[in-house]
């Protein structure tokens, strides 16, 4: 995953400064930073970057990478609560928290409804396939102190399985669309809507993202 993120950064650097384009000239590519709200079992935030390059007048290959802060599933929350009950039986003032951040990277095709330079608004749809690394960040506390790393010791005697700890990487499918709007020279605002599905073993994770990208066309 680190390799793929690094690839995005490198690509951005290699792309160099965007060439000035006059209105109406076809775009060769774009790069943008993205901020989104995410929707699934819980509501959270997502941040990332996206870049694409035209392979045909209305078709672009794009890649995106990002991180959604929390996509906790009901299965994870339920399992965490079960073990919290066991902890409460042996320790007063116990508590727990559940977060499930996802780091993802995908690549796909983006299709614009109109040729570049045909108008101000650039509506598009896209589909991509990639991978997501899901971290199960379940923390247990006793008296306000994090005891997650010592749960297996006396007096807690709890072993967390991979259902409540660690991370896993699974395939991810992304579909979505949006409208790009050039606001000044090469500067573009990209109003986005994305739906992602992480194919986890126990329970697939669905994440919707809606947000804004700010980038440049070249």
């Amino acid at each position: 995953m680190k390799v793929t993120v690094a690839a995005v950064v490198a690509w951005t650097l290699f792309a160099g400064p965007a060439h000035a384009q006059s209105q109406g000239a076809p775009d060769k590519g774009y790069v943008e930073a993205v901020g989104q709200s995410s929707f699934g079992s819980v509501t959270s935030q997502s941040f990332g970057a996206e870049a694409g390059i035209a392979i045909k007048p209305q078709l672009q290959v794009f890649v995106e990478g990002g991180r959604t802060r929390d996509v906790s599933t009901s299965a994870l929350s339920s399992a965490a609560k079960t073990i919290a009950g066991a902890l409460a039986a042996v320790a007063a003032n116990s508590g727990y928290s559940v977060k499930e951040p996802v780091t993802f990277f995908d690549a796909g095709l983006r299709f614009s409804f109109y040729p570049s330079g045909a108008g101000k608004l650039d509506p598009y749809v896209l589909a991509a396939f990639g991978a997501a690394t899901v971290k199960q960040d379940v923390r247990y506390t006793v008296g306000g102190n994090d005891v997650t790393s010592t749960l297996a010791q006396d007096p807690y005697l709890i072993v967390l399985g991979s259902d409540l700890s660690g991370s896993f990487t699974k395939p991810m499918l992304v579909v979505g669309g949006g409208v790009a709007y050039p606001v000044w020279k090469q500067l573009v605002l990209d109003f986005q809507l994305r739906y992602g599905r992480v194919f986890a073993e126990d329970q697939a994770i669905n994440v919707g993202r809606a947000g804004l990208g700010v980038g440049v066309r070249f």
């Binding site: 995953m1 390799v3 793929t4 690839a7 995005v8 490198a10 690509w11 290699f14 792309a15 060769k28 590519g29 870049a51 694409g52 390059i53 392979i55 290959v61 890649v63 399992a79 079960t82 073990i83 009950g85 066991a86 902890l87 039986a89 990277f105 995908d106 690549a107 796909g108 991509a128 396939f129 990639g130 991978a131 297996a152 006396d154 007096p155 807690y156 005697l157 709890i158 072993v159 967390l160 399985g161 991979s162 259902d163 409540l164 700890s165 660690g166 991370s167 896993f168 990487t169 699974k170 395939p171 991810m172 073993e201 126990d202």
Partner: protein, 374 residues
Amino acid sequence: MRRARLFLVAAAASALASACASSSPSQPTSGGSPAAADATASIAAPRPAAPANNAQVRNADQPVTLIAANAITTATTAVTYMFEVASDAGFANKVQTWDNVAQGGGQTTVKLDPLAAGRDYWWHARASGGGTTGVFGAASKFTIGPAISLGTPTPIAPLTGSQTGTRPALRVSNVSRSGPAGAVTYRFEISTSSAFTPLVQVGTNTEGINETGFIPTTDLQADTTFFWRAFAQDIANGVTSTPSAVQSFVTHQPSPAEIMASQIGVPLWPGQVPPGATGHATLGDNWQVQILHHLPTNTFFASPTIEMIRFFDLFDRGFQPDPAIDWMNTHGYPTIAQWYPPPEKAVLGLQFVYLAARNKITVNGTWDLVLKTE
């Protein structure tokens, strides 16, 4: 631009390559990789429920059953348990291990094999399920009490073939014992069946000197064969001996004549025994054992004599006086008795006394013993 395209294609390929699943659990588990199978479960160790920590278990109460409150787990598959019993708190010296014990409802139990007596033991349990083996729960200690054994009581009386009254004294010799036995009591069982079902009477008595006995608190049925046996018991330590050898006896309710004959030490009917059941006559006055003085002959004699007693027994069996005299004379018990019938009298004359029918009633009557004056 060409370089940028190449790199974008490479990045896309990288995205596809990284789509191959992998996982990295933060804690080691014994199960397989979650990427290859479902995620492994989380398990909170089972907690000991019984015996309570520091419990004293009587040796006689073995085998011990360990009970653990079920582990709390996220496993959706079958959960099994391992129980370990050790002779030290650190479980360096395990004496019994029970693995793959199926989870019970709320609690999981395992019945141990007998443990050596007079020692301390520690036990704990752990659960496995959903690809995870949990850690052992808290250790709990219990102590098996000392080994105590009691010998078998030996019957003294009544022994098989005995005839007894309806409240015979059952007696056994005290038992031997090994180990630090507590107070020993004896349990006596009486039954009409040699299998001791049902029990007619059961009694418990504290240990006596050299021997211990028990007398039934109510009359046993007369003329009935009974079986009895005894156990020695150390109640405090839960130890019971093997039962004594079974003995039997026949109860017999002695008639008044039998009692008097016994009192003077003479067999009532050493030869032939008259027919009929007793219960047809009542002892009147002066039948107590005593020395009487026959004034006319200045003779002192022990009363009643066996002849007097035999006549009363015949009356008690429903004989009338004349037939009684005849039966005596014809069955080896010669007599000079003379019957003086009503209405003038109703007395049987013997050497120094009369047996007088009170109110001259000879059938189911009361018989007084009256000293002769002539």
